[in-house]
């Protein structure tokens, strides 16, 4: 009967009850959403690179180098000369080295110039190598391997021809349309920025830039795709490189050697160290978001308490009737708390559903625009704890109107004086 009373009573005040439900739902959506995004972003970042001992680039901050080399966020301010890279690659401690050259794109997806060492040595998540779902690696000029998301978004198959654009904007006005590329393979999904990248050889990148200066093809300097094959396509420089060492012990020595490299100003970073530096930078921002979403929740809970408290005046008769038919004052206190509990539980479920729905809807956009992979919230482990914490705070907020009902019913007795 108490459940029926609470439900009918809420239904009887459905406009205010629904508004309260809505504000609680939004605050839950925000709270769960912020927390989930934070967790997902961390997982995403932590998975993107693994097994790489050092990342090398032009002299810059560690976070910046990590962001542009691994996550393709932002742009490098300088390159590494090919000579320095060669010297590094051939040094005694280095087991493998993967060069990357950024700067071109296709339909808004980044094109990475690299070597086949990428397929051999690059690792992500927990020591996982890149695998092909279709086709194979490039082994000639004008060949390209697609990340899973690129192939899916643009419906490409091995054998398709594509044109690479100069620059990294989503819309490009300078296309390398004189030298189309052939798709040779498509990678399996990795859940890392690799999925929205196109991989080709450094030589191919060099080839399509023959005769280009300052971002456009200088008339008369270009060469046909076939003529280019005869030219020297050794790159002048690369953007950055991933390095694996023979021994972990050597890491700091090699890092120091690179940082002190006399030929040019270089930086070498440890991916894990740079990541934790990134977290500590983002930590304040995350905390701010969390505090804000908690304040929103607090406001919504206070709104609920206000709603319940305001309803008590019109419900004094109701409470007196319940007392007259034998309800204990405690019953009235619990009745109000049950209403608070019902609204909060509904708000939590609704907020959870809405969050999952919006993740489903926004996911393609998030991946394509930001390269962030957000998994559905699902029934993750911490969720029950959060639900408990939320319901607890709802009961705490409900205590105020519930106690008021208790006190009012004791003071009024059977006869309500208005």
């Amino acid at each position: 009967m108490m459940t029926r009373l609470a439900l009918r009573s809420l239904a009887n005040r459905r406009v205010t009850a629904l508004l309260t439900l809505l504000s609680l739902t939004i605050s839950i959506l925000l709270l769960l959403g912020v927390d989930h995004l934070r967790q997902q972003a961390r997982d995403n970042f932590a998975q993107a690179v693994s097994g790489t001992d050092l990342i090398v680039g032009a002299r810059t901050g560690p976070v910046n180098l990590l962001l542009y080399s691994v996550f393709h966020i932002g742009n490098p301010n300088n390159n590494i000369s090919w000579d320095s890279w060669q010297q590094l690659e051939n040094s005694r401690d280095v087991a493998w080295a993967i060069p990357i050259s950024l700067g071109d794109s296709h339909a808004g997806f980044r094109v990475i110039g690299t070597s086949t060492a990428m397929f051999e040595h690059f690792r992500y998540s927990r020591e996982r190598a890149l695998e092909f779902s279709q086709g194979e690696a490039f082994d000639d000029l004008y060949q390209v391997v697609l990340g899973a998301r690129v192939a899916e978004a643009l419906s490409y198959q091995p054998g398709d021809e594509i044109v690479i654009s100069h620059g990294t904007g989503a819309v490009s006005f300078a296309d390398h349309d004189d030298k189309p590329f052939t798709v040779t393979g498509i990678l399996r999904p990795t859940g890392t920025p690799m999925d929205k990248s196109l991989l080709t050889s450094l030589e191919s990148i060099e080839a399509i830039h023959i005769g280009w200066q300052q971002g456009s093809l200088v008339p008369g300097l270009g060469a046909s795709a076939e003529a280019t094959r005869q030219m020297d396509l050794q790159p002048q420089s690369i953007t950055a490189g991933f390095i694996g060492l023979n021994s972990r012990m050597a890491t700091f020595g090699v890092q120091r050697m690179i940082n002190d490299y006399p030929g040019e100003a270089l930086s070498a970073i440890l991916p894990g160290v740079a990541l934790s530096e990134l977290w500590s930078t983002l930590g304040n921002f995350e905390n701010l978001l969390r505090i804000l979403s908690m304040l929103v929740l607090l406001a919504a809970l206070m709104g609920m308490a206000t709603m319940l408290l305001a309803s008590l005046n019109e419900r004094r008769r109701e409470l007196a009737i319940l007392r007259a038919v034998g309800a204990r004052p405690w019953y009235l206190l619990l009745l109000i708390q049950l209403e608070a509990l019902m609204i909060s539980l509904a708000a939590f479920l609704l907020g959870w559903l809405l969050l999952n729905a919006s993740i489903q809807i926004l996911e393609p956009w998030l991946v394509n625009r930001w390269g962030v992979f957000i998994e559905p919230l699902g029934a993750q482990a911490g969720l029950l704890g959060k639900l408990g914490l939320f319901l607890g705070s709802a009961l705490l907020a409900g205590l105020l109107p519930a106690l008021a009902a208790y006190r009012k019913s004791l003071a009024d007795g059977l006869v309500v004086k208005t």
């Binding site: 009967m1 009887n12 007196a320 009737i321 004052p329 007795g413 059977l414």
Partner: protein
Amino acid sequence: MQQKNSHGVKISNLSFSWPGGAFALEIDQLQLQPGERAFIYGPSGSGKTTFLNLVSGVLAPQRGTIEIGGQDICQLSGARRDRFRAAHMGVIFQQLNLIPFLSVHDNIRLPLVFSRDKTPGSDIDIRIEQLVKQLQLDLSLLYRRADQLSVGQQQRVALARSLVNRPALLIADEPTSALDQDSRDAFINLMNQTAAESNSTVLFVSHDRSLQSHFQQSFDIAELAGQGVAS
């Protein structure tokens, strides 16, 4: 059932005062036989509210006894008094007796919920239907929302609710004040008839002395209350 109604109502040496001494009520003696119907004259400010709260067990007196159906409710804890009220008393007010958003059926059933009556649902339904017919209400009203009924219908539903537990004591607080003269007499007759069937003692409190003729005994609350002074 007969057992619990063997005493009617007996109040003796009752003394109650609000904290701070704002108002006090004292009753030396008030005794009613089972099934007896009493009119209590209680104009506003006479201590009527306090009297009703005491008799129904919502308030506890500092001293004295209130026996209802042989049970001194002053000996009971607050929670037990509430349950006793649910099981053995019926209460009906001036107006707005019903919970507006519940059905008529749910409203009538309420005292049985709070007395944790173990009677099977089908028997309760039969009892409710009998009461509703007796009170000249249409059975089709049972599953309507209470606030869709007219005031006269609502008061009869409230009467059904106050009698559904076959109470030892029916407390009526001006239940006819919202009705016109004809309905008033009809309502009181109906109330007295139905209460007689469950042998319930009736305490009818009103400021309208013209209703006094319907009752076997009448008291003035001011006289009962002795030196009680209204705040």
